[in-house]
Amino acid sequence: MPIVLEQVSHHYRSGPQTTIALDNINMTIKDGELLALIGHTGSGKSTLAQHLNGLLEPSSGRVLLDGEDINQKGASRRALRFKVGLVFQYPEHQLFEETVYKDIAFGPKNMGLKDEEIDLRVKNAMAQVGLVFDEIQGRSPFELSGGQMRRVALAGVLAMQPRVLVLDEPTAGLDPSARDFLLGDIQRLNRAGTTVVLISHAMDDVARLATRVAVLEKGRLVMEGTPVDIFTQQEKLSSMGLDIPENFKLAAELRKAGLNLDKHYQTQELADALAEAIKGGGGDAA
């Protein structure tokens, strides 16, 4: 069930002037993909994300899920939100219950599920984000570490078992090990069949995880393609104030220095190709 955006624009008014947050966006989010949304601060990424589950309504244009306009009259917004889970920036700031268990159960409870089903889903969700049920479930979410709180918040969305998961800067403010852990969770979920939309500033993570990348600038969709398609256009990206991943930078530098490594960009491939080149071409490469 793809999500299709048809000529979606979003304007909002602050005082006398109108700001255009999204400008005629056409795109399709395909089943099972891991789409990364990148763009400078204020490019409209978060606004776009909130259109995917009906938190914001487009000023013009349509958002289709399974071919149905999600904003049409009579469409259930709530049912939609259980299908498209949205994890906001710093999701741990939305925790409120006395125990981790209750907090994760908040979404499933709102879905009107039976207690046994809720129990099952909470356990599942905690396992998915690598939290040990017996150890954590009875504790207050506020006495956990930052990384653990983030995982509890993520589990709160996963417990609704959404088919599409939208994550807005999920790794912001986490230490490297917590970040790797979370990204691992996301990748596992995606491989198990969940469609993922990932908003991120961390280009290395995007290059490693994404199956497709979409670039927003000033509310417009300006580039779309595989990570390799996108990140090999360094100049275009840097004109928008965007960086490219380190391994792409290295590959570009090497190419400039006359070392052509063909299409190798992933860290391991790049390292192998580089070792090969140095070994093989010994004299003239050095």
Binding site: S14, R78, R81, H93, Q94, F106, F142
Partner: protein, 267 residues
């Protein structure tokens, strides 16, 4: 969702009234309020009305802003007028409707009280419409600082007000964000009876309070890191300075007092 809430009443501008010293504006507003209460009869509202019109036109405030400030008063105004109209007694009968008699004195009384209310609200809203909240607290602090002798914490009060004002938009934004996040988890803030709605606020209020405390802690730390120690020996970036404009404003107010009070002594 919560973005539409406008905060305070300040209407930015660069009029002579906007540029008056905040202390002068606060004092003048108080003097004006007292003046309105000193009015002996209906006719004396004419100079006061002219004075207000002059002040409003100088401030370049749109008329609808002034009218908007009167809007919440309309029920109180009607009640005041009606009560005074029907319950005033006097010697000259104007109208008799069965048991209800309307006296001329009652009508005059009703008009005096209604005008008084309108002028009070309009006069004081000129202050809040033309003065930025932070400038206003600054002015209050300076005016209250002589009270430091009796250990009144003028600076601390003003600092608290400034911080509170500063954080209201931040907290509104935060509340909006949390509301959206909980809505994304299926929370429902809009339907149900009163009790259900009150309960639905818990997922909003708990995170909001936690974040307010966290922000307060961070801010306290940041202020201490910059050696904030309260008002003692603190200098200011924007020194308040009375100018000729303030003098003219005070003189105009003195003139108004003369117009209202002198007839009492002469006649």
């Amino acid at each position: 969702m919560l973005r539409d809430i406008t905060l305070g009443q300040y209407y930015p501008g660069d009029s002579p009234i906007h540029r008056l010293d905040p202390r002068a504006k606060i004092i003048l507003t108080f003097l004006f309020i007292i003046l309105v209460f000193l009015v002996p009869s209906l006719w004396f509202y004419i100079p006061i009305a002219l004075y207000l019109v002059l002040a409003i036109s100088l401030s370049k405030l749109p008329l609808r802003m002034m009218l908007r400030s009167l809007k919440p008063m309309r029920i109180l105004l009607i009640i005041t007028f009606v009560l005074n109209l029907f319950f005033g007694t006097g010697s000259r009968e104007l109208l008799r409707l069965g048991p209800i008699v309307i006296w001329q004195e009652g009508l005059l009384q009703a008009l005096v009280f209604s005008f008084r209310l309108v002028f009070l609200v309009t006069g004081s809203s000129i202050l809040t419409l033309t003065t930025a909240p932070v400038t206003l607290t600054d002015g209050l602090e300076r005016l209250a600082s002589p009270l430091k002798i009796i250990k009144f914490p003028a600076h601390e009060m003003a600092m608290m007000m400034t911080i509170a004002l500063r954080f209201i938009p931040t907290l509104i934004e935060e509340a909006d964000k949390i509301m959206k996040a909980q809505t994304a988890r299926g929370a429902d803030f809009e339907t149900g009876n009163l009790l259900a709605r009150a309960r639905a606020m818990i997922p909003l209020l708990v995170p909001l309070f936690i974040s307010a405390f966290r922000r307060a802690g961070d801010l306290a730390m940041a202020m201490e890191a910059r050696c904030y120690r309260g008002g003692e020996g603190r200098t200011r970036l924007h020194k308040l300075q009375y100018t000729r404009r303030d003098l003219i404003a005070f003189l105009s107010m003195a003139l108004m007092y003369a117009i209202i009070l002198l007839p009492r002594f002469i006649f």
